[in-house]
Symmetry: C2
């Protein structure tokens, strides 16, 4: 038999109501009584029912996290950091891998609401899910969901400019950009705007190719092939995702291009994993941990009813100097 | 005001009890009544409270998943597959990244019990947490936690033998193995046993170096350096993790070894991510999706009270032929 609240009360020599008040942190209870109750819980191995408490307190300390998939170095790192940040402040993470399917995302939103999560952190390419999200506090990482949802992102414009300037500085004459789906309104599009602006200001050639989905590579190879067929004289490529950059690199090398001699390539994200296993790839590092911590803190402020939250919080990025743009030691 | 169960009853023209029975799927209700109730829910945008229902049904449809970190290609892929498998059968995942800290794992076990999860899937290097796990249905992936916890793993012995034979076949004379912490009782140790047995049977040299933690690389480089200092004539290395294999490869190349000419290297795990970005690395592929699906199904059987569950389920692995052991096209 599982020990009950009454058993705790008996061992502690207090009433069940007192035990309940200690557990729910309601009303004034002396430290001495609290100590007795906790000691009794320990003694008879009583496990408080957080589910019941959630219902009673109308607070579940559950946060839903919707990502495309943890099977991607950037999202895997982001989820790990979000979960760590939640754990430190007593929140738990309900994980949802949407696999970029709009239907699945909608189902997850419904599920999260039914399960009384206190809020949601969204890192997906939602379309038309704004309505269903209105009832829940939510923070979006690097995506615009609707006017009333706070956005945390890194400085995508700065990142796009840094990447483009690195290619210009290292002598590229024809620089091409590969980005995700152009139809999505994401802050990540600022990488493309920056790339175009930097080159336009110098009256230079610019052109952006769009892949169906930066994070899932299977369909992207045809776009990469087309890029090289259209522009065999390309000598600089800025890819808006590290995996995409590596696929581009692999294809270029298979076609006889030498990197960085004939062709320079720069990626985006710079997760710890990629920098560990592919230190040679020049890339833009997003401050994943900072983004995660601030997303969690912002969401909790929102849950707590704080109305003084900035609509958008932008954190600076940095350049990881690898060997796909210049020779370094 | 949020719509309540009474509002649904009113719109549907049935009693609140009937609505409750439909929601909890209890007692006989005609399809016609069900349809009316669901239509009414839709009409007034009623969101059922799964939390309350969990408490009532003593079933939360929550599964805790404890992994070292989703910030690792193998664990990131495994978590994505586990969550997908759970989602398909109506279960939700509470994610816990233990970061390999025993204290944190213990806290997670306590948290999961307090939150009334129906069961736990564990993919960590638990030590001494067996007691606390006894009250909850649990399935371990690739770890022995205690006699009464079911284990799902891939065929580590087969994998170790495959890897070792690949190095023998490609002409290696001095083959060294790098493994994780020897003190942990994990099925992964069978990779080492297989390596040693295959070489012993041929009366050949064998030696295993142990790194503190296969998944976190920072502390491993010293072990790799020692290996090359002790055995500069090593010409074959079997590393029990792909990241470890890549670190070894990077260090070897920095010391002037040419791979695969002077030195052949084979890794372990073969996640989709690694095969995508590092197709050249010869490795052993674990059937992650199969492991995930079977872990989820086994856990649900256990939750449902099925006692006819095999203690250990082992799935076959396969060799990914890259270019770090031989030249291929």
């Amino acid at each position: 038999m599982k020990p009950k609240i009454q058993d705790v009360a008996k061992v502690a020599g207090v009433s069940s109501t007192t035990v309940s008040r200690v557990l729910n942190n309601r009303g004034y209870i002396s430290q001495k009584t609290k100590d007795k109750v906790f000691a009794a819980m320990e003694e008879i191995n009583y496990v408080p029912n957080d589910l019941a408490r959630s219902l009673f307190n109308k607070r579940s300390y559950l946060i839903g996290v919707i990502v495309p998939s943890t099977n991607h170095p950037f999202f895997g790192e982001l989820v790990a950091n979000v979960e760590n940040a939640c754990n430190k402040v007593g929140y738990k993470v309900l994980l949802c891998n949407s696999l970029h399917e709009a239907d699945k995302e909608k189902e997850y939103w419904d599920m999260l609401r039914r399960n009384q999560v206190d809020g949601v952190i969204v890192v997906t390419y939602n379309r038309g899910l704004v309505d269903s999200s209105q009832q829940l506090p939510a923070v979006a990482i690097d995506h615009y969901l609707s006017k009333n949802i706070h956005v945390i992102s890194s400085d995508n414009f700065q990142g796009g400019a840094l990447a483009t300037k690195e290619l210009i500085e290292t002598g590229c004459k024809k620089i091409i950009h590969i980005n995700g789906d152009a139809a999505l309104e994401t802050p990540a599009n600022k990488r493309q705007y920056a790339y175009e602006e930097v080159l336009r200001e110098k009256n230079r050639f610019y052109k952006t190719y769009h892949v169906p989905d930066v994070a899932f590579l299977d369909n992207n190879i045809n776009v990469i092939k087309r890029l090289f067929r259209d522009h065999p004289d390309v000598d600089g490529i800025f890819a808006s995702d590290d995996l995409l950059a590596i696929h581009t690199l692999q294809y270029a090398e298979s076609q006889g291009y030498r990197v960085p001699d004939d062709l320079k390539i720069i990626g985006y994200d710079g997760s710890n994993l990629m920098r560990t296993i592919y230190p040679n790839l020049t890339t833009i590092i997003q401050p994943t941990e900072q983004i995660a911590i601030n997303a969690v803190n912002t969401l909790i402020q929102e849950i707590d009813g704080n109305t003084q939250i900035p609509q958008e919080q932008i954190f600076p990025v940095s350049l990881w100097q690898g060997k796909t743009t210049r020779y370094t030691n």
